[in-house]
Amino acid sequence: MSIKRRDFLKAAVTGSAVAALPGPAEARPNLEVPPNAVGMLYDATLCIGCKACMVGCKEANEMPVESSDVSPIWDTPMDTSGKTKNIIKVYTDGTAEVKDRETDGFSFVKRHCMHCVDPGCISVCPVTAMRKDPDTGVVTYHEEACIGCRYCVWACPYNIPKWDFEDAFGKINKCEFCNHLLAEGKLPACVDRCPTGASLFGTREEMLEEAHRRLALEPGDTYDYPRNTLDDPNRHEAVVPHYVNKVYGETQGGGTQVMVLAGVPFGKLDLPEIAERSFASVSETIQHTVYKGLIAPLALLGGLMFISRRNIEKGGTE
């Protein structure tokens, strides 16, 4: 709150200093969650690292396999890339004995687009090639408009969009929430393939509720974990682990539609601690303070024309 105000004041001062004109615009608040926002909950404590979701993702999106091995036997990308939209990574520490423990333990984490509520990639794209569905909130990429400037790659707080550097006529690759499957009423492929319910699909609201329900459980008790969706009858019982008491994605950078629960601190899982105010809103507040309705630049232009005309008449052209 006070930080917001401070940022805003700074932005306003910057803006007026640049445009030599006062009249600060309203700070642009974070964008709101869309009305029918879809959601995904990834519970790292349920993930067994089988990578079935990676295979499913490649199939559903017709992506080729990638190999980082000397002897290519499996699909082994090192990160999301021009050919990989979804990857299971692993955190290990010391002897890596116990799952979901920070010291001498390990944890899996599934990385793909978070479908931010207020996405940086959309704010930065000069040609609107990244778009957010106003209803479901799914963030899609439109190659026909993309010029390949890679600003989205550079700016995404989760390092998600990837340029295909192997292709001379490449494009951006990123998870689009299996938008084509959602349109047919199907589940995202990674959720559909997940055997343990680590990846769960529903509305963002449902996913948030379910996440908080799990955080309220007593570690050591058992819980009837759902698979695929909350109302799918195919559930399974498991012992409740020690969760880190936070739903990652509830507020980070204005919130995300893909949310994560885990047993080790999120920072260890490549999920950085990000302030609630989205970077997109900070950047756009500065932009619009300076360029609101182009009033400041036009006023500046008018003033300069007036002065230079007078000076040219008085003093000659050069």
Binding site: D7, K10, A11, T14, V18, M78, D79, S81, G82, S123, C125, P126, V127, T128, A129, E144, A145, I147, G148, C149, R150, Y151, V153, W154, A155, P157, N159, W163, F165, E166, D167, A168, G170, K171, D270, I274, A275, F279, A280, S283, E284, I286, Q287, V290, Y291, P297, L300, L301, L304, M305, S308, R309, N311, I312, E313, K314, G315, G316, T317, E318
Partner: protein, 398 residues
């Protein structure tokens, strides 16, 4: 309306001097490598990766080149807005430098975008994203390039004896001048504001809401410096006489911008309590110190009346300031940037040679144009009596 056009004339002289031929070769190599880049793609030609999607071309050939192109912008403000005409002989050479710089920066943008065949998409009204800093920069830089070309119309008219067009041109000159000030003000700050959206991926040493303002101020400082620098180069390379009194006064004006830049820079760092960032990452800390030493040292020189009067020290200051602005841009965009784990970047040979080639275009083009177009004041008045032309091949003349 009286015309006080200072007489300028082509320098004349041999074009194909040895340095000219050497630099032209570098340009040719760059052209060949660019061909390679367009056929085999960014991945083959560069060391860019998905951790460092922006590299040398973005920082050196777009950001720094555009900032180096601020000479004409600074002189336009001094001459047409502050109505101070004493620097008029510097305007045309500065215009040539700026026009080359901006033309090359636009070209570099085209070379760097991965889907260059799609570049026109940025001009389609339904694609416009006014929230995108990149959009603003791209449009403003393109328009400013055109404005610069238009500012070069008078020497062309003179060269071909179309003097009768001067009058109508001078009638609209004020529009060109005003655009030539608004557009750089917008995009030079935009080039800095570009990094705001990356949030915590940029070290607090550079990530600040003021970064746009700082980029603008430092670009103005670089504009001053590059005019000095170009002046010194025409002295060394083309055997012109040094107009020290002008450069000294230019330095006197420029130091206030430089001082304000440093005040804002450190006030902001102190206010955000960000100086601790120097300790957190040694590479970033060292680069931060180099950057600011390069700004501070020239300020000390320019504040001292005797040092300011020394041509060598003045030239040295100008070099420092151009480098300072360059390091600031490298720092804010690459050194201060933390990619996701596991990525490293160092420019490839092709990236470096293309950048060298683009810089060579500037020197080669500048030399050609001052020899064939009326850019510099007549030699008679500017060669000091008895001064022998320097040994440099560029100065050999018939």
């Amino acid at each position: 309306m009286k015309r006080q056009r200072p007489a300028t004339e082509p320098m004349g002289g041999n074009i194909l001097t040895r340095p000219f031929v050497f630099l032209s070769l570098l340009v040719l190599i760059a052209v060949g490598l660019l061909l390679f880049r367009f056929v085999y793609g960014l991945g083959a030609a560069t060391n860019l990766n998905n951790g460092y999607p922006w590299g040398l071309w973005v920082v050196l050939d777009i950001h720094i080149t555009a900032a180096i192109g601020c000479g004409a912008y600074v002189l336009a403000v001094i001459m047409y807005i502050a109505n101070n005409r004493e620097f008029h002989t510097l305007l045309r050479p500065a215009l040539i430098g700026s026009t080359f710089a901006y033309t090359l920066a636009n070209l570099a943008a085209f070379v760097d975008i991965g889907r260059w065949w799609n570049f026109y998409q940025i001009m389609l009204p339904w694609n416009i994203n006014l929230n995108s800093v990149m959009f603003e920069i791209a449009i403003c830089m393109f328009l400013y390039m055109i404005v610069l070309w238009m500012e070069l119309v008078p020497p062309v008219l003179e060269k071909f004896g179309w003097e009768r067009f001067h009058k109508p041109y001078n009638k609209v000159l004020f529009i060109i001048v005003a655009l030539g000030i608004v557009l750089p003000t917008m995009h030079q700050s935009g080039l800095g504001a570009l990094i705001v959206v990356a949030g915590e991926k940029i070290s607090p040493l550079w990530q600040t809401p003021w970064i746009g303002f700082l980029f603008l101020m430092s670009a103005i400082v670089m504009g001053f410096a590059i005019v000095l620098f170009e002046g010194a180069l025409t002295v060394l390379g083309l055997g012109r006489r040094l107009e020290l009194h002008l450069y000294r006064r230019l330095a006197k004006l420029g130091r206030w911008v430089l001082a304000s830049y440093l005040v804002v820079r450190f006030a902001d760092l102190a206010y955000r309590d960000a100086l601790g960032g120097i300790m957190q990452n040694p590479v970033q800390g060292v680069m931060f110190c180099i950057e600011n030493m390069l700004f501070l040292l020239p300020l000390l020189i320019m504040l001292h009346p005797r040092w300011r009067g020394n041509a060598r020290l003045l030239f040295f200051s100008a070099i420092c300031l151009v480098l300072a602005g360059a390091v600031l841009r490298f720092n804010a965009l690459i050194i201060g940037y933390t990619p996701s784990a596991g990525y490293v970047y160092f420019p490839s040979v092709i990236e470096i040679l293309v950048s060298v080639g683009l810089l060579a275009v500037e020197v080669v083009g500048f030399t050609y144009i001052v020899k064939r177009f009326p850019i510099l004041p007549p030699r008679k008045k500017t060669i000091a009596p008895g001064s022998a032309p320097p040994a440099s091949g560029l100065a050999s003349h018939v």
